[in-house]
Symmetry: C4
Subunit: 215 residues, 4 copies
């Protein structure tokens, strides 16, 4: 089932590695199958080089494996919680990208210091409370704290991003790491650095939604 979408989810997972957002077997991308109760997700603990369309796992919204020989990601229940609570979300991405995770370790929200951060994340990327891995606790933290932002720092763990498409969730993961890296460098030199003003952030947001990219 869903061969084309499984290929896309597989490719998106591989892009996590190519964009240096994950190492070894950590991190995962999932996608809701449009107009169904199904979700496609990476298998647990498999190397990115070994991923193929064939070993992507199809689960229903209760976590029952519908297709696939392998166990799905240990984060599956949390992905599913997000899909059940947020109808606008069709893709969830999880990474341990380095600079973003260093803010997550400290339990700090990541404020917007650049026009790019303001474009994509508005005022800040929120940081969650600590959540245990393996059930839907992480999903609940995401839904409770992410709001309108496409990204959230998961306390002492890593990052999750969401989007109406795989492309948008992946972009949020890439831009979050860039945002965290630049904020890290700048605030290490200047700890009292002020984020962008509300006026600038509002104008970035408005412009970006209206004008960036192709239609």
């Amino acid at each position: 089932m869903f061969e084309k979408l499984k290929a896309e989810v597989c490719k998106a997972n591989k892009l996590l590695k190519e964009n240096n957002l994950v190492r070894w077997t950590s991190g995962n991308v999932s996608c809701r199958v449009p107009d169904t109760e199904y979700v496609i997700i990476k298998p647990s603990g498999v190397h990115f080089e070994e991923l193929s369309s064939e070993n992507m796992v199809v689960v229903d919204l209760n976590g029952k494996v519908m297709e696939g020989e392998l166990k799905p990601s240990v984060d599956t229940e949390s992905h599913l919680y997000v899909y059940k609570e947020r109808e606008d979300v069709n893709s969830v991405v999880h990474t341990h990208s380095p600079f973003a995770t260093s803010f997550a370790i400290r339990g700090q929200d990541l404020p917007s210091y650049t026009t790019t951060a303001a474009n994509v994340f508005n005022h800040r990327v929120p940081c969650s409370d600590f959540a245990t891995i393996g059930a839907e606790d992480i999903g609940r933290e995401i839904v409770d704290h992410i709001g309108e932002c496409p990204a959230i720092l998961m306390k002492s763990h890593g990052v999750f991003t969401v989007g109406s498409t795989i492309e948008k969730a992946l972009k949020a993961a890439v831009v979050l790491e860039e945002t965290a890296e630049y904020a890290y460098y700048a605030t290490l030199q200047e700890p009292e650095l002020k984020p962008l003003s509300s006026e600038i952030i509002a104008s970035c947001n408005q412009f970006y939604a209206a004008s960036y990219g192709q239609n």
Copy 2:
């Protein structure tokens, strides 16, 4: 039109990614078509891997699309402002390279601490005031603050470089990131570090213009 130059602009855009100066779809290179009112520039929000000679956009100096199916970069008006105001500039490069952007976030000029920085940038790379994306405001900041330097830090945004050729504008973008990275490391260890003296900078500049590279 201009197939050879479109291929060069396309290749230069891809070099931004290969030199780790940009991520996802941010950043762009443009080039003036010699002896015309035309400029070739990257389309907006397109992945670097998907760029080809065919999807480069040709605009006139008023921003009217002359050739190309796609919308040009959202920075197009600012590139054009530079071309209109600076006849010596035939290429403009825009990146969000990490260390340079961290100086831009802080609104700090980047002084020259190395012979390479002095060779290419003279005393310092200036930092602009904040400019809104989307119209020609960024172009005006560039023209008002860049002076004889081939690079400028764009406040809370990224960097722009200019040159009489694509090669020179690209080189300024690469050397700027190197310069910012080394200055970052050194000043984090030693915040009161002194830049090079005016005598050394003058001698670097003179030597470099006279002797470096092939004729």
Copy 3:
């Protein structure tokens, strides 16, 4: 002898370079040959690009070369000491990965700040006392200080990891560098940062052993 296992040890050594854990010719992976007194190890001072199944060295547990034209790694006696003292260990990995080595230079244990660190290393990665290279002193430091942890920081030198399989020892080396990098970033910003609590670490460990990966 042991062609298949020599190919695996060769590939594992090359993965050190591909994962940016070593430079030039430093670092090595060895593996015990199951149900024998033999160990396969990288030759000394050979470039990773030049490694092949054919130039892997087979030694017995006394360090006598049984097969191979080249001298084995200068760390061989230390690897053998570990195999002799720890029957549960079938692979030893040695790297000079950057952030982990920076903790080893300072002689600091690396506490767990992330769920991934807790999953793989429990409370902390211990740091050894200084040991001289070339005999079995490093092996003795490993056995005396590593305990149940799959990794140890070798004072002023680098890191060693162990596992019941090559895959597990390699994973420990990759995750150790990630763990050290994130801890470095976070503690540089916030020197008094608290590691994860014992309760969280215990729950991570339990979950990870029971649920992560395929069976």
Copy 4:
């Protein structure tokens, strides 16, 4: 002339880029032609991707171009000064590697904090006084300050390494950057960190010369 050695010098120059020691066109490797008054060196300002055996430049010890269409590196006179003063040196390598250059900017010697640094550099890598580019001033700084060490930090500029073979000079350049990176991380966390003791350094040196690598 010297086709085999020109191919080796060309390959060594490309390795500078592959090991992330240089960017754009900076940096160079040269080699003395055994039993002659000739030296082979990289042309000035040429991209590493465009280097070939054919465009390597052969000069005599007075700097006269004996073979090659292109101008030799602007550092040629300094390389030649080293070859004239140091009969034991058959290869000179110049890079602007990031962390090493950050120590050169600060005018600081780089002390040995790791066994690898002690193996290759003994107590420290010295830092020179400032020297002007283009004549033999840099060469004089090298000869005056490098002593028995295979590497020197060139004040406010970059690094030079020397060796009896290309392989050894290149290795010193790679290990110097590793050494500088690790020392940077460790001393940023702990500014008063003590380098290795003289006893440890002496024992590393002795062991390394006697035992590392193949004969």
